[in-house]
């Protein structure tokens, strides 16, 4: 017997029964298709909705929180920033270039839909090891896809991450963040207000591309088409650029009441969501939709994921003006229906009613699952893991280890990636990719937006709660290191199959860790995205809760950057470097030098992290700091090395003693943990000697430990232990060479 349609479309039997119940009848084919996409995990958030409700989302700077196309925060001067991160993992695993390109297109339209001009992109990427040919192919394809689409839009890609690890081999993660700028009064919402208002579609024509894979061979399209209808979309950045300009012109002229991007499930989801948010209904005629292919059915049109389209809600008297603007930019514009009070989405197919569904059933109408969760076995094993099992390297080995770490693909320079991105267009990029958080000026003000994405999936795997909290803490620290005040986050939660108890446990823990950290740091969650089922043959990716942190720098002239500035400056560590066995847990040192992924990473001391943020922000505004570099992968040694590598001419070195960090104080102290251990709440700073007292006082006020380690030198890094013996002495040129060529050499 043949499989029922709803199964082919990915609905579960009981979900279908639920639909029949609530609808009071059997849905027809088109309606079933509509349900199948809106009740999919991607649109319905079936497994995440209940937990996402527990996130802290309030804050006095938050103008729009989760639920809209993107979060919006006040940045002063009557301006606001809309920002959001989204995943495009699955498409990229099939077709890396187009997958990544259309991922950029989607997130940019989300930000545009809020009324903001998209001005910043960041990309957070995860792949299998660079040594693996397939992973290299995906890596290359994704990066050129981001470049190909983002560069054409004229939106600078100013930062991101790349992390390589075995579990991402089958499932690369491609998360992209977009931030946009707007005046408060330009804020628009995806709401279909005003019964009688006109529903319009602007942008590209609609084709059959991207229609749910399971339906290729259905009788709608005919078997013979199967291989011709792959479930990938081709991006057209040129059309997107025109769409951006046209929509901004429409919004600034105040001719649209509501606006919504068309992402997954295209017209279907955009219509349902705008109506649901406004508590109205919509009635549309698919014949009026500009089509790219012949005899398309209501099913095709409603489910098409053709790119570069937006839905507009327009007052009848403004329709002509909207059409004119669309025409000016060479876009298709069509009046496809109107807003009703029916509370239903009514779809007409060449005159006859093809679907009529209450929008409440479509949006947030899908069942909510709270699957059982169970701590995976590996967690308890790791809790019993003993650092003692790792032999302490001889002092003479530490320098060589540092060089190896600097060359490790996860730590090495990502220049081979970002040199392909136009990170300067718009002439606002004050600090681009390559040196900590990105700093982007806001023309006409003294302010700058500061953004950073972060997440160490290896830590999140070993301890999801700690890992998520560290991602928040580290991105905040990165942002604060520039002198900017972290204000809010967006997030993208990449996990395996939530129907597996271990995965759901990881998810639950990560949400808890993220919430705690956001509350402690006062950075509410303004939006985000969940991507489940990132696994193949039972191998899931590391749980990867990517955090996108937004900060505001009040005075660009006070901006602090990584890299030592002048010889003779004092070098200090603010915060705490644990230096004990536990800080080896999940470290890059343990993974790439000792070949182990083990241990139970400690959770961050959030009070200390908050104090550290305050010290960095106030220290910068008081002009106490010459440079600041946070500790992350590779620990203290890598932070020092990067400060040297990024140093100004004549200030590319340092002579320091780790004695001041109190080694010996802790019985569990070991040199490799002090130098390479991770999960530290600490930042390496340099300052003019005469600022030392002022900084000490500031730290005291925020109860942040400060340890002066030594002095900025000219061209080499010298590290002495508590006894004054040299444990590391490396020429900066040698460190820079290892760091710059790490990825190209590993990719050979």
């Amino acid at each position: 017997m043949d499989i029922p349609a709803w199964k082919k479309m990915g609905l579960k039997d009981f979900e279908y029964k639920e639909i029949v119940n609530r609808l009071g009848r059997e849905p027809n084919y088109t309606e079933t298709g509509i349900f199948s996409v809106l009740w999919s995990e991607h649109c319905g958030y079936k497994h995440s909705r209940s937990l996402l409700r527990t996130l802290p989302t309030k804050g006095e700077k938050v103008l729009v929180g989760p639920g809209e196309n993107a979060g919006v925060v006040d940045i002063g001067d009557g301006l606001a920033c809309a920002f959001k991160v989204e995943s495009h993992n699955h498409p990229c695993a099939v077709e890396p270039y187009q997958g990544a390109a259309t991922g950029i297109g989607g997130i940019v339209r989300d930000v545009l839909a809020m009324g903001a001009r998209p001005v910043i992109l960041l990309d957070s990427l995860r792949f299998g090891p660079v040594e693996d040919a397939r992973s290299r192919f995906l890596f290359g394809g994704v990066v050129s896809g981001i470049a190909g689409y983002g560069n054409c839009l004229g939106i600078p890609t100013v930062g991101g991450e790349v992390f390589f690890a075995e579990p991402y081999k089958g499932n690369p993660l491609v998360n992209v963040l977009c931030a946009g700028l707007m005046k408060h009064e330009d804020l628009h919402l995806g709401k279909a207000y005003g019964v009688g208002n006109v529903v319009m579609i602007v942008g590209h024509s609609t084709g059959r591309d991207g229609i749910h894979g399971a339906t290729f061979a259905s009788d709608v399209l005919g078997e013979d088409n199967e291989d011709k209808r792959p479930n990938v979309q081709v991006g057209d950045p040129f059309m997107e650029k025109l769409l951006i300009e046209a929509c901004l012109e429409m919004m600034h002229k105040g001719v649209v009441v509501g606006i919504q991007d068309m992402g997954a499930a295209g017209i279907t989801s955009s219509c349902a969501e705008t109506a649901a948010r406004a508590g109205t209904g919509l009635s549309i005629e698919i014949a009026k939709v500009p089509m790219r292919e012949e005899n398309m059915t209501a099913y095709d049109v409603m489910l098409s994921e053709s790119q570069e389209r937006m839905l507009l809600i327009v007052k009848p008297e403004k329709v002509d003006e909207v059409a004119a603007i669309g025409k000016k930019w060479g876009l298709h514009v069509a009046n496809i229906g109107r807003v009703t009070d029916s509370g239903s989405l009514e779809v007409y197919e060449y005159g006859k009613l093809a679907a009529a569904i209450p929008v409440s059933l479509l949006v947030e109408g899908s069942p909510v699952y709270c699957p059982e969760s169970a701590e995976p076995g590996y967690v308890s094993n790791n809790t019993n893991w003993a650092a003692a099992s790792v032999k302490v390297p001889a002092k003479s080995e530490l320098g060589g280890i540092l060089l190896k770490l600097l060359a490790a693909p996860n730590i090495a320079s990502k220049e081979t990636v970002y040199r392909q991105y136009d990170y300067m267009v718009r002439t606002d990029t004050v600090e681009g990719p390559g040196k900590g958080a990105a700093v982007v000026r806001v023309k006409g003000t003294k302010r700058a937006l500061v953004l950073k994405t972060d997440c160490n999936g290896r830590l999140a795997y070993l301890n999801p709660k700690a890992g998520a909290a560290w991602a928040v803490a580290e991105s905040a620290r990165n942002v604060a290191a520039t002198g900017a005040r972290p204000v809010a986050i967006t997030n993208c939660l990449n996990f395996g199959n939530p129907e597996r108890p271990e995965i759901y446990w990881q998810f639950k823990e990560a949400i808890a860790g993220m919430s705690e950290a956001c509350v402690a740091l006062g950075t509410p969650v303004t939006g985000g995205n969940v991507s489940f089922y990132n696994e193949t043959e039972g191998v899931a990716v590391y749980p990867t809760p990517v955090i996108g942190m937004l900060g505001v720098l009040e005075d660009l002239d006070k901006h602090v950057s990584p890299g030592f500035k002048s010889a003779g400056d004092a070098i200090a560590v603010l915060g705490k470097v644990w230096g004990d066995g536990r800080s080896l847990a999940g470290s890059e040192y343990l993974a790439s030098i000792c070949g182990q992924v083990a241990g139970n990473p400690r959770e961050p001391d959030l009070a200390l992290e908050k104090g550290l943020v305050d010290v960095l922000v106030e220290g910068a505004s008081l002009g106490l700091l010459r440079s600041a570099q946070d500790l992350s992968e590779g620990g203290l040694a890598v932070a020092l090395a990067e400060s040297c590598i990024h140093g100004e001419d004549g200030a590319c070195g340092a002579t320091i003693s780790i004695g001041a960090i109190g080694c010996g104080g802790n019985p569990d102290h070991r040199p490799d943990s002090v130098m390479f251990g991770e999960c530290n709440s600490a930042v390496v700073v340099s300052l003019a000697p005469d600022k030392e007292q002022a900084l000490k006082d500031l730290c005291a006020r925020h109860s942040v430990p400060l340890a002066v380690l030594g002095q900025v030198g000219s061209d080499k890094l010298v590290v002495k232990d508590c006894l004054g013996g040299e444990i590391i002495s490396l020429a900066t040129a040698e460190m820079a060479d290892a760091w710059r060529n790490g990825i190209p050499r590993a990719a050979k």
């Binding site: 187009q98 591309d209 081709v234």
Partner: protein, 87 residues
């Protein structure tokens, strides 16, 4: 023997071709109302050694599958002839 092979790679029918659409737009602007559709493809000309035309053919087919075309979005066509012959 020396052969001259051509692997012509085109986007699958269902897939939208932004480049072709843009070129069509310019042709319209230039007044070529007769043009109904434009699709862009790649034309990869390969000079190779093979024992026979059959072998050349199967080699090219292998290269196309492995490298030259992306099966997800593209289809390809192969033409071979002995080197020296006029196309």
């Amino acid at each position: 023997m020396k052969f001259m092979g051509t692997v012509t790679v085109a986007l699958k029918e269902g897939i939208f071709d932004p480049q072709g659409a843009a070129v069509k737009g310019s042709l319209d602007a230039l007044g070529y109302a007769q043009v109904q559709r434009v699709r862009m493809g790649k034309d990869i000309v390969i000079a190779l050694e093979a024992a026979s035309i059959e072998e050349a053919n199967s080699l090219l087919d292998e290269m196309a599958r492995k490298l030259l075309a992306n099966p997800v979005t593209e289809v390809y066509r192969i033409a071979v002839q002995e080197a020296g012959e006029r196309p």
